[in-house]
């Protein structure tokens, strides 16, 4: 079996937003629409402002709340765990926005439907990496197979990320290393 997931290494991430830009370019997203976004960790979690980030999109949960709550069945889950949203079926009721604690589905007011990350399943099926993963210059964002790859040194619910074991989000995280602060006496 295969169970695809994003792995976010916050120690390697330099906050360049290449992942989000690659996503926008791949799908030619409308202005204002973002499927992947960079979230800086607050200073309560990491002591240096704007120095540690989580690059987040859909977490392709094992128990997706979006899929469960969608009244028109616009969401489906593939055998490899990828949660796919069909914009043609979606009627824009925005119930998934109320149900996803990770803020992944976005409402496109112009088009009247919701959109979200598809993990570039078409690219994966062709043996390619998702656009965001391919664009990451530091390898902070990678694609892993939870059934094959060793993810024992990663965490599923880091600080700054909602704790929702009932949904089982697939994304795994490597936490940023706390900086050693060296002060020079004046």
């Amino acid at each position: 079996m295969t169970r695809y997931a994003f792995s976010v290494n916050a120690e390697l991430c330099i906050g360049c937003s290449s992942c989000g830009m690659a996503c926008k370019n791949q799908y030619n997203l409308d202005p204002g629409m973002v499927w992947r976004k960079l979230y800086p960790l607050s200073e309560e979690i990491y002591p240096h402002k704007d120095r540690a980030f989580y690059s987040l999109a859909c977490n392709h949960c094992s128990q997706p709340a979006c899929l469960e709550g969608c009244p028109v069945g616009a969401y489906t889950q593939r055998e490899d765990g990828i949660v796919v949203h069909n914009e043609d079926v979606c009627i824009g009721c925005r119930n998934c926005l109320r149900n996803c604690p990770f803020g992944a589905p976005r409402y496109n007011e112009e088009e009247g439907h919701v959109e979200k990350c598809s993990m570039c399943w078409q690219r994966i099926d062709e043996g390619l990496l998702p656009a965001c993963v391919q664009a990451c210059p530091t390898n902070a964002l990678t694609l892993v197979d939870l059934d094959v790859d060793d993810v024992s040194s990663t965490v599923q619910y880091p600080p700054g990320f909602p704790y929702r074991p009932d949904l089982e989000p697939s994304t795994r995280f490597v936490l940023p290393v706390a900086p050693k602060i060296v002060r020079r006496d004046v």
Binding site: I45, I91, P101, P162
Partner: protein
């Protein structure tokens, strides 16, 4: 959430819950006093149907693609929103049959009771549909409690327009304890949210800082002052309570913080 964006759902939930409240008290009066056919009863059922109709039309404006609304019954297996649409459709049909019966012959007690029960079931499904997993503060039974309190506040209050004065005692016997319960619950809940996680705390702070919340409580308090057992419900009071519930409903839709808004922050 944007108030304008949520206005259709604010109207849908409020108007349909008022319709259910009226249906419940119409059935209750029929059960307790056995009312015969009258113009007032007919007007009440016309009002119930009109409220459902306006509410449903309003709900269409919430959809990005209103023409796809029929597909909302596609996921009855897991989606409370699908179940909500189905139960409200049945409630609307039963209300239409009740109106026909009230017009042509004496009201049928069993039919009115069935209509009221299906209406309450529909409000139950609405309550479950709004327990959004992204909305920590209301990802529980609170939406159901809030909505039922609205049903049992607006139902007897607005029914006062459609009953003879001697029936006001029955209405006030339900309205007074409901107003008291609603005031206590709605006053206490935001303070409980303050002791929750960061998202719930932010929701609690939003409510406590919002005039919408306090005006809602003021309307309930006014109700408690002027609803007295054995006395008539003043004609202006249902309007005050309706405006209060509207403000409270706007607060419910606009002030509850989405968990996704805090990504990267402490939860």
């Amino acid at each position: 959430m944007d108030t304008l964006l949520e206005l259709p759902l604010i109207l849908f939930t409020l108007l349909t819950q008022l319709a259910v409240g009226l249906a419940v008290f119409a059935a209750l009066r029929q059960w307790v006093t056995v009312e015969g056919p009258s113009t007032r009863t007919r007007n009440e059922w016309i009002a119930i149907l009109a409220l459902i109709g306006v509410g449903v039309i309003a709900a269409f404006f919430h959809l990005g693609k209103p023409l796809g609304a029929i597909r909302m019954l596609a996921n009855l297996g897991t989606a409370w929103l699908s179940r909500e649409i189905l139960t409200f459709a049945i409630f609307g049909a039963l209300a239409a049959i009740s109106l026909y019966m009230v017009y042509t012959k004496a009201p049928n007690g069993r039919l009115l009771k069935l209509t009221a029960l299906v209406g309450l079931l529909a409000v139950f499904t609405t309550g479950m549909a709004y327990t959004g997993k992204a909305l920590d503060a209301i990802n529980n039974l609170l939406p159901l409690v809030f909505f039922m309190l609205t049903v049992f506040t607006l139902g007897p209050a607005v029914a006062a327009y459609f009953v003879e004065e001697k029936a006001h005692a029955l209405l006030t016997s339900i309205l007074f304890p409901t107003l008291l319960a609603s005031l206590v619950v709605r006053f206490v809940v935001p303070f409980i949210w303050l002791s929750g996680n960061a998202v719930m705390n932010a929701t609690g702070q939003n409510f406590l800082a919002s005039p919408l919340h306090w005006l809602h409580l003021a309307a309930l308090l006014a109700g408690l002052f002027f609803v007295r057992s054995g006395k008539n419900i003043p004609a202006w009071l249902p309007i005050v309570l309706l405006v209060g519930e509207l403000l409270g409903r706007i607060a419910f839709f606009v002030l509850v913080v989405n968990s996704g808004a805090n990504l990267g922050g402490v939860y």
